[in-house]
Symmetry: C2
Subunit: 237 residues, 2 copies
Amino acid sequence: MAYELYYWPTIQGRGEFVRLALEEAGAEYVDVARVRGVAPLMAFLEGQAVERPPFAPPFLQDGAVLVGQTAAILLYLGGRLGLAPADEAGRLWTHQIQLTITDLVAEAHDSHHPIAASLYYEQQRREAGRRARYFREDRIPDYLGWFERILAANPAGDAHLVGSSLTYADLSLFQVVEGLSYSFPRAMAQVLPRLERVAALHGAVAKRPRLRAYLNSDRRLPFTEEGIFRRYPELDG
Amino acid sequence: MAYELYYWPTIQGRGEFVRLALEEAGAEYVDVARVRGVAPLMAFLEGQAVERPPFAPPFLQDGAVLVGQTAAILLYLGGRLGLAPADEAGRLWTHQIQLTITDLVAEAHDSHHPIAASLYYEQQRREAGRRARYFREDRIPDYLGWFERILAANPAGDAHLVGSSLTYADLSLFQVVEGLSYSFPRAMAQVLPRLERVAALHGAVAKRPRLRAYLNSDRRLPFTEEGIFRRYPELDG
């Protein structure tokens, strides 16, 4: 049976990390809200009859299993899609990398929404200017530097974050580099050339046949100023 | 062999969620930096010879396994300490709850540090006043309301978040209620009386013999204005 992914239908957002894994694996899935609108999604969030309601999208249904939280969805899918190592320690390490990406993504969001997600950007523009400076100058280098370091430390080689084959963490790092490059082109032009391994991984993932086909399809939504990675030139220094 | 927990030695912080699980299970563990200082912790973060270096504390060493990210540590320990269900779907649900607590904890931190963790509170006090209002009025009720709802929806009864016995998620929700009550006593006095099940779970966890012994010991550090849950009366409305 096809996996059912529930996420907002008009943005990449956090759902994109799951979409990339499903697409790269060639898995059968339905992006529910893009096909049937957001009503079925809202029913899970608000329905009183749901035994294990997620706090927020994305969430995935696979038969009787309903799982929310991006990193938990990828933990669940990793082995099933052939995008995680077989051993427990390797799976945990892949998951740990994904959780660090989760932290980075939350900080990327808050770089334009430092006061409240429920307010418009324009209502927190001044604070965003201040927060984005620290995000750009300290946090992006901290996080991407860590990815560079763990690529270098991988005993199986620096082509992948974990072991010698592709995992969902590689796909997620690709998406992070895409998103940050969209949001902060000037800052990334300073940082990325110093991070050879991260840049190489990003390039290699983009060339994978299934990924490339997905990125060129209309299933891949564009980055916009409604998503997590937004381009506000005034936040890019 | 004893588990080795690496976390900052003077605060509860994120490490406390792991300490609570280890203490409730009566597990043998060493809180490394409290015994030997922070040098061994820094060696893992900065050492070039570490194959899988965590991005930040807390992290746990168990023989050859090194695992970082609070929720991943608890995922690893859950089954081993008897604090998670045996079935995959139940473990994933417990982990999903923990990841939602992780999100809440990050927002609690940012309520006093909305611009940068590297700045002092006093350097972002005005922005904190604005962010804390939304956290207090919207986010605390959103999150705690969700916990109340999933307690009510648990088919095994509302005494636990998952199934009919204690999991690490229950311990973590206890800690969240403790921390929010310390930080926002006025806001919590408004919210908590409407959340009977959350309040009852908090009370029941506090009475468990091992937990109570821990909370009364000098192993339990006090809440302070160096940790994640801080009391700044001006942020409590």
